[in-house]
Symmetry: D2
Subunit: 398 residues, 4 copies
């Protein structure tokens, strides 16, 4: 163990994702055999006090308030970007130019132009780059991808994806920065719909070529927030209402490059559905179905099963399954954070050249183009809208 | 019992639905207290031999090959239409004019014009009229409607309906009359999508006002059928292929009159889904979810449940539930045919004036207008298409 | 159809089971191709008024109050016994002696001596005899039996059976005849535990050879019933309490002849479980699991499934499945009464010599011996108690 | 953060549980506000090489091979015992005597005598002591306990517990130390059945007073193991068979001090069940049901729910639920290791006097007495066997 070289990390962002990434960097080397040891060096946040407190609690030896320090220092190998989306492009471009390895949270950027700029920069840069569509590293979805790509379900016809949450179903739930387009960049569509788009394209190996979409804001204004609790919080009863300037829900049909038909829905108002990130894919030889609320399970259907055909509930927790062998005995489930630990482990391996870094910035730019087409379609009476083509030199991960 | 007057029935059609309706007429009075006793009198089919055999097997005392006889005879009270959709209008209009009570299978007609003609005729006719959207009489859906209409789930935001079958997922599954537009009138959309549309409008009490749709035919031609088995059959390996002229799948988003957003999908190619007629409705106070593959269950979510919120699996089999009290003890499930027995019982009560007949022909005409708007939207790049308004004098059931 | 000979039936009993059997005799020939046509002739009940009313409602042309008439008449082929258990032996023995075919509801008798007497009489009689353990004819359980008997799950180790109901969980639920040992013969054990015992022996092809048991009465007295509702009813608040003289719950471990280990539980106090008649069987190559609350489904596990092992939810509703081909398209479920229709159809075929009649009276006598051993063990501190051996000439169905 | 005093830990054991406890000590302070900071100081193992390697990988600054060093050193506050059961008593007694705080993995000891000795020592010792029945700290079970103890489900009648695994269902699965009574102390009963016993007593607040039991070994000998994989491994085809000297399965009925009836089953041969640690409790006002294969869910039934009664699937992942508030947003599940993180956090709080340490050694001694009664009953034809009473001064946690 002593000969493993360190991989020195600067993390930008002290919010929820910063905490999660810290946990992942610390945990990955204890459960995976890695070619380098991730070493937390510098935590960067906007406010000095809060950043110092987070650094102490999470165990970062140094902290600061200027991300440029992370990019400039020679003793930093990785810049891990966990800030809001409107700052991703500037930081990532600087870090790539400085030769750093870059892990960037999703969404990659706030618009297509920025995303494509980042994607191009990543192609030319010496460091590896990865965008944090973490759901790909759920063992059940990784198994699903292997099954679909290996032809197990045959030719893909249907993609049926829903991402259902309900933390805004109460019309008196308070306003937060996520409901302000200026600050969040987008609403439900970009926040959770983007995950479904990425998962669908990755699982099928097909890109979305055209969409017909609806966006909807059910509650036009909400009271100011008095206290934080989870994603939502408690409203200040006397406070004035603030306008909601993003979508509460998005729904769209999609055409895939290989001929599949997609039906997508994302909402924060599906009362009773806490985090139902679901996807089902039907091919002519079988199907797979997944719901993140039961993240350790994959439903698999094979036409081969004679008089006992049916969806099989596979517990994707065995040593033969993706990632699962590093953890517990079969049937002992994993949780949400394992996705991030897997991401950290894969990132370290990619830096060492043992595997490709995926999802690439090009993958993330492709998601951004789909998001743009959806907004465009929704603004024009749902009319079928083509997704812009990738640049000739863009390389998506397979 | 001896004083109950008979309700004399002529049934037109000797296919699967004719068999089901026969069973329903015979069974209803044994389990429900009815104001009249349904009495099978005359079975009418196209081919004399097959009709005679069906009459013998199913227990009809008389049989014939001309539906006009049923309309003309004085000793017939009810004309029950179980023929293909292209014959509904002519038979129903004649029967209504002759003063008969009319039960007509869905779809009401093959186009909007016919459906509206029937709807108007029904308004003026002395007899009662009902269209066979039988799923409404699943106890779980009847309970769902009561919950939604009583405000239990609050203001409705989302309607999420899928009707998934898979009997065409094999590209070598044989061609049948259902795949020929000339004979079937429509494909998946009209056959099963229509059920979802009717259920959604009925459950919410809202009409669909505009749609954006995609129709898709995945397999363009299929081998001729050699033998029947269920909905599909066995292909004749040497036979020539016949073109598929209807849709295999339909997907559309919908705007509802009360502001709800609908996402619908119907397909016969969802491998592994045999008859997943699903609907979920989210309001701001709760939700209901249903899947016909588990037809005796309704999932109900209430925001009231404090620290034990969650979807509740209600077995809709108790004496306090719609229809269920007529049958078995709690937890002893009902099957598909009970929908038709309930329909028969309700029809008899409507004839006696004890309750309204629903779904009305006006309800069914409304479904037909939605289907037409979907086809129109799909033909024009999914553009948002308004559903035509009902005539001023059309009366839908509540 | 006209050449089919009639099978003339007398039904003894006007309660719930009488209604169900009537429905079955009428429905079976409309859905199954039968070698004879069941013809309801005579309905017998204790009280003349109620019997006349039932005969009118259910469609029996003749009615009476003396079962001996049914046995004596030459124009009766079948005596169908749906009376309380304490009358079974006398009626069945007389009917067998008179050369009738006999269908007898479970439990076969109130004690082992009677059951064995009936079993011996059945062996010598010219007519066929069958005991109404109707759950065997659930398509899912019939499929399970085929899988287990064909070796699909390998050597059987575990049998795990629970029959959970809750209609007595409220301590104020009223007293009924089912809680009076004098009238019911037994409590939960004989009423529903007997079903589990029969199913377990039938599915595995093994007999239970020894048991260790507990019987428990949680509520020792209950208020007199004022009105009937389902299995329970409404208590008369002012009425005196009556003693409960039967068991509320039974639990026992069991040794099977082939080496399997059984764990059984039956109760009417599993709050929230309406009719959870469950059985799971684990072999060294696979498993099956069933719950009657989802009676159209069978869970099947095969060790063969490589990296996608898991329990498969089979919808046992397809033309290739036992009984299901006579009914609806795949995915359109059956209900509780179909078990009785299947029983009626099989009985008719057995009368015609096309198949054996099962479960035989010998099978039912075997269940009775297990019940006796359970009561004996429970009375002696749960000590392991051998089940009495069958007589040398007793023949159980395979 | 800087003022938090450290809690200095020595961990004895380098196996799977050592790894898990290490992860827990490191992770707890990053997610929970703790009154002291757990500080890994010394790792002790039997073999110097393996211990050095584990210390390096897991991040322990010091390592050694003699547990007495941990007990003797003044700069150690906590002794965390993760060794096989036959060494627990000696280490724990020495550590308690030395004034250490002691966390001891389950089973507490290999027999009742040792367990009671430890329980008595814990009462008199200055340090806190806790036994690692970690399942208690599954949020869903902690919520279940709160519901049951608060009277939400009324008077408890039924406890139905199954712990089903299948890693021995293949008769050719290799022999391991777990199958050798000399080394493991017990088989399935002590390994996983003990968890069910502890959970049942803790959830209900009742102790088990008498049992009637069966133990069974289905496969009497197995081939020697060639390689480890999960709990099992790969057999060496040419190796001789070794005898299996422990039980493969245990089944027993149980009487509880408050009148409840228990039915328990534990097995490693329930093919297809990976880690189905299930418990259901029925009271006269409601029920709870749990299965560790879906560890983030609790099923809750209330009789209050009028016409929508049913089991409610509660996702126990919300800020209002036990432990869950420290982690992710609602619907983002936890995994197996969180039980150990919760245990570490609670242990630290107990050391600081903020709460009691539970489960106590007395709780664990009570489990040991039940295990002894089960073995005794099974050895005597399942006869009902009283569980020995606790000593007058033994104090179980509530």
């Amino acid at each position: 163990m002593t000969t493993t070289r360190p991989l020195r990390i600067a993390l930008i962002g002290t919010g929820f994702m910063g905490k999660m990434h810290t946990h992942a960097w610390r945990t990955a080397p204890r459960f995976f055999d890695l070619p380098a040891e991730p070493q937390p060096v510098l935590l960067v946040g906007r406010r000095a006090d809060a950043t110092a407190e987070a650094a102490a609690r999470w165990g970062w030896p140094e902290h600061g308030t200027d991300w440029r320090e992370a990019v400039a220092r020679d003793d930093i190998d990785v810049v891990d970007i966990c800030t809001p989306g409107d700052t991703h492009a500037e930081i990532a471009l600087a870090a790539l130019t400085a030769g750093k390895h870059v892990l960037c949270e999703k969404p990659l950027a706030n618009d297509v132009r920025e995303a494509e700029q980042m994607s191009h920069a990543a192609l030319d840069a010496p460091g590896v780059s990865m965008c944090g569509f973490s759901y790909r590293r759920t063992p059940a979805l990784a198994l699903a991808r292997d099954l679909v790509r290996s032809g197990r379900i045959g030719e893909v016809r249907h993609v049926r994806a829903q991402y259902l949450q309900d933390w805004l179903s109460d019309p008196n739930a308070p306003h937060t920065w996520r409901l302000d387009r200026e600050r969040s960049g987008s609403g439900t569509l970009g926040d959770i719909g983007a995950h479904s788009i990425d998962a669908a394209q990755w699982l099928t190996g097909q890109t979305i070529t055209a969409v017909s979409a609806v966006l909807r804001t059910f509650v036009q204004s909400r009271p100011r927030r008095a206290a934080v609790d989870g994603l939502g919080g408690v409203a200040d009863a006397d406070a004035a209402h603030l306008p909601v300037t993003v979508d509460d829900a998005a729904a769209f049909t999609a055409h895939f490059s290989g001929g599949a038909l997609g039906v997508f829905e994302a909402t924060r108002m599906a009362t009773g559905r806490r985090n139902a990130n679901r996807i089902e894919i039907n091919g002519d030889r079988g199907s797979i179905a997944f719901d993140f609320e039961r993240m350790n399970e994959l439903e698999v259907y094979d036409v081969e099963n004679g008089d006992t055909q049916g969806f099989r509930r596979v517990q994707v927790t065995e040593s033969q399954h993706p990632y699962a062998g590093a953890w517990w005995p079969a049937g002992h489930g994993l949780g949400y954070e394992h996705l991030f630990v897997h991401q950290a482990a894969d990132f370290v391996r990619a830096v060492a050249g043992l595997e490709d870094a995926w999802p690439s910035f090009a993958d993330a730019a492709q998601v951004q183009r789909v998001l743009a087409a959806i907004e465009d379609s929704a603004a024009h009476d749902s009319i079928l809208t083509a997704v812009a083509a990738a640049g000739a030199d863009e390389r998506t991960s397979s």
